[in-house]
């Protein structure tokens, strides 16, 4: 049974970098803490360590964002993503999108319209 409000958080605008930083770290810790559950719930054929690395990568991507407004939106989206993941509101394919090989789109041979359509690329 899933509680609709489990892991929900009211969206709130942080007005200082220090506070934002702490909230972000809390979110990161929550993600890492539940990484094993992600693997179990979604039945991923990926070790937990790799999931942890992926979470880290996703956070590291935005390490150098300095705009507080942008950071707030990112936190909000990260929190939503976490809630959806941990409540099992997604399906395996949605989780596996994170583990796609990013070189895949660049290959000229696979760049025809139909192949990109099948892949779900924009």
């Amino acid at each position: 049974m899933t509680l609709p409000t489990a892991f929900a958080e009211t969206t709130r605008f942080s007005t200082s970098h220090a506070e934002m930083r702490i909230r972000m770290l809390n979110l990161y810790r929550r993600y890492i803490r539940h990484s094993r559950e992600f693997v179990n719930n979604y039945d991923l054929d990926i070790p937990t360590s790799e999931v942890k690395t992926k979470i880290r990568q996703e956070f590291e991507k935005h390490r150098h964002v300095n705009d507080l407004a942008v950071q707030n939106v990112m936190y909000m989206k990260g929190q939503m993503e976490f809630q959806e993941l941990v409540n099992f509101w997604k399906q395996k394919c949605h989780v596996m999108k994170y583990f796609e090989n990013f070189d895949y789109y660049d290959k000229a041979a696979k760049n025809s319209f139909v192949q990109r359509f099948l892949k779900g690329a924009d």
Partner: protein, 135 residues
Amino acid sequence: MLKQFSIAAKNATRLPYMMAARVVRPSAFTPMRFTRFVSTGSPLTKEDVLARTVSVLKSFDLKNSGDKIGLNTQFTKDLGMDSLDYNDALVALEEEFDVVFDDKSANEIKTVGETVNYVLKNYLPEQQDLDREVR
């Protein structure tokens, strides 16, 4: 099994009388004490927690891995961790000891000693454990 028994039996028969007589018996029967380990509180000792903490931390890719990790070692200063590394380490410790660092203390903890103290304070012995999902 049978072979072992037969050998043991042979050896027993070969024992000289002198040795058999020298066997010391307790003068009074001492009843076995059945202690409930659960009710004795946390079985973890501080040294125990520190040793396990250090072994967990050693599994990370530390900048100053040659240094000895003690109670006063600071995560960011001495071990060269950044904030995300440090949170990785905290979660690894959570998995090791089956505790959960609450947000407030997790952000305040600076040294290995503080984590050790936190674990000792919040560690639940096995039997009193609630359902993991609930925790």
